[in-house]
């Protein structure tokens, strides 16, 4: 049986630099996968390739049995992929609630005419969108912050809001790009719990990029390590942590 997400020999070059080299990854349905590697290993590039932000130079990406390599970002998202960003990309001037509502409307659609005249499905769907958004905010512990502008929220809350917004897309696959970046140890611990909770509760296949190994090791049963655009190790956290290539990659850069 094929996995939910498969990368087959994916290569991406920027000018003369090979950012991702013949990468093959398989993520099965329901898995929680950690993607680790030193700075500049090409982790975020992998996410950008999956979500169609960069065109793939070589290889194929298959999602849910369908090839998504040539699709545009919004088409890939509509197939059931959601992601967060390393440097937050919230709508800072909109409220937390509006941020999540914007994502909710992808599956609660009504026509242009209904929107202009506030008739038909408008009332029913708008209140459904609102309720659903509040639900996701509550899940992420942000209910009290619903009417605050996203840009004025504390940093840790903004990170969680971005996850709430991604969940509101009702994805099959969630990609989290360094969700713990800039957080203190307490917040990181809280976040690890949250990620495990989400994964369990929504039965959501999740891929986490992390620079901090401790978070990944504690949370992800399946870990992939990259360096210089190549996969250098894959397996359980223990296997990967003790892999000589991984040790070299990390010890070479930081202890």
């Amino acid at each position: 049986m094929g996995g939910l997400l498969e990368l087959n020999g994916v290569t991406k070059r920027f000018g003369g630099i090979v950012a991702v080299k013949e990468l093959s990854i398989k993520v099965n349905e329901g898995e929680l996968v950690g993607l680790i590697g030193p700075n500049g290993a090409g982790k975020t590039t992998v996410f950008n390739l999956i979500t169609g932000l960069y065109p793939v130079d070589e290889g194929r990406i298959i999602f849910n049995g369908e090839e998504i390599t040539p699709l545009k970002s919004y088409e890939i998202i509509r197939k059931g992929v959601a992601r967060t960003f390393q440097n937050l990309r919230l709508f800072p001037r909109a409220t937390a609630l509006e941020n999540v509502m914007t994502a909710c409307q992808n599956h609660l659609r009504y026509s242009f005419l209904e929107a202009c005249l506030h008739m038909g499905r408008w009332r029913r769907y708008e209140s459904a969108i609102k309720d659903e958004s509040m639900y996701y905010l509550e899940k992420m512990g942000l209910k009290e912050r619903a009417f605050q502008r996203a840009g004025t929220l504390p940093y840790g809350h903004q990170r969680r809001l971005e996850i709430a917004r991604a969940l509101a897309l009702k994805p099959k696959l969630l990609l989290l790009d360094e969700p713990a970046a800039g957080m203190n140890p307490e917040e990181v611990a809280e976040l690890s719990e949250l990620i495990v909770d989400i994964h369990r509760e929504f039965k959501l296949t999740t891929m986490v990029i992390e620079h901090h190994m401790d978070l990944v090791v504690g949370v992800c049963p399946h870990v992939i390590c990259m360096n210089f655009g190549e996969k250098i190790a894959e397996g359980t956290p223990n296997e990967v942590m003790n892999h000589p290539e991984v040790l070299r990659a990390y010890l070479g850069e930081e202890v």
Partner: protein, 288 residues
């Protein structure tokens, strides 16, 4: 013929309709335009030609003018809206100038630079008010819907928007088309108010004015746009006796607003929500 006061109110309604179109495009979708007077021109000349040369009733003429402007905007939008930022603004200047040049040179149809006289005076106060109220209602509805949120998402971060599943190109084209429809209808009503058209009425200055009132009122505030239009229309009328200083003041005001209150009169807020603001704050401040 309308009285002087009636005239000012009619002009405010017409300008507001056009400005609401630009507001949707610039204020809510974040696409900066300097060519929307072209769509007013298309609406105005279509209405004039249909009513005068083909004896069509003014109402379908105005609506057809709006739809033609919309169709042209749609065709122009497909290639040009791929351009971001200043590029589209410059492209829109090019478009505006091209439309003006075509009207000036297509004499058999548009009567060229000397102008198109003798249009029926059909834009009475009730007509202008009816159009204004209906279109205002629709625009407010639109921004308080999934389309409004989609436009704003494209404005605030088009990349994040496309990664929330929005076809940003489609929404940008939609926004331009709607703004052209509004400007086209405003142009048609303008033809029926002035009874005389000239290509220079729809020059770069007019396009700039449309964008300026939107910025003045506050980008992302529809009531701000209407308020801004009203104030600017009144200023232009009241300062008419000192017309050379009028433009100087207008230009300086634009600069001063950008320096001291770049968010415009209303910021991103609507008048109604400001009034309701107090009550709402109390409501949500309660511990839950």
């Amino acid at each position: 013929m309308p009285t002087y006061i009636e005239g000012i109110i009619i002009l405010t309604c017409i300008n507001s309709i056009a400005a609401m179109g630009v507001s949707l495009l610039t204020g809510f979708t974040g696409i900066f335009t300097l060519g929307n007077a072209a769509y007013m021109a298309i609406g105005a000349y279509t209405t004039a030609i249909l009513t005068m040369k083909h004896n069509l009733h003014w109402l379908p003429s105005v609506i057809l003018g709006g739809l033609l402007a919309m169709a042209i905007a749609y065709l122009i939008g497909i290639p040009t809206l791929k351009l971001m930022g200043d590029y589209f603004a410059i492209a829109s200047i090019g478009l505006g100038e091209t439309v003006r040049l075509i009207i000036e040179n297509w004499e058999p149809v548009t009567r060229g630079a000397r102008g198109f006289p003798g249009i029926d005076s059909f834009t009475t106060l009730p007509v202008a008010l009816t159009f204004f109220i209906i279109l205002t209602w629709i625009t407010f509805n639109l921004i308080k819907s999934n389309y409004g949120r989609a436009f704003k998402a494209c404005r605030d971060d088009y990349l994040a928007a496309s990664l929330l599943g929005f076809n940003t190109a489609k929404y940008r084209i939609l926004s331009l088309s709607i703004s052209a429809l509004y400007c086209g209808i405003a142009g048609g009503l303008f033809a029926g108010f002035m009874t005389f058209l000239q290509p220079t009425m729809f020059d770069l200055q007019k396009s700039t004015e449309l964008t300026a009132v939107v910025v003045f009122g506050g980008l992302g505030s529809l009531s701000g746009t209407i308020l801004g239009t009203t104030i600017i229309t009144l200023i232009i009328e009241l300062f008419r006796p000192i017309s050379q200083y009028r433009m100087l003041i207008y230009g300086a005001a634009l600069v001063l607003v950008m320096i001291f209150r770049p968010e415009g009169l209303m910021g991103e807020k609507e008048i109604l929500s400001l009034i309701r603001g107090m009550g709402r704050r109390g409501e949500h401040g309660r511990p839950t």
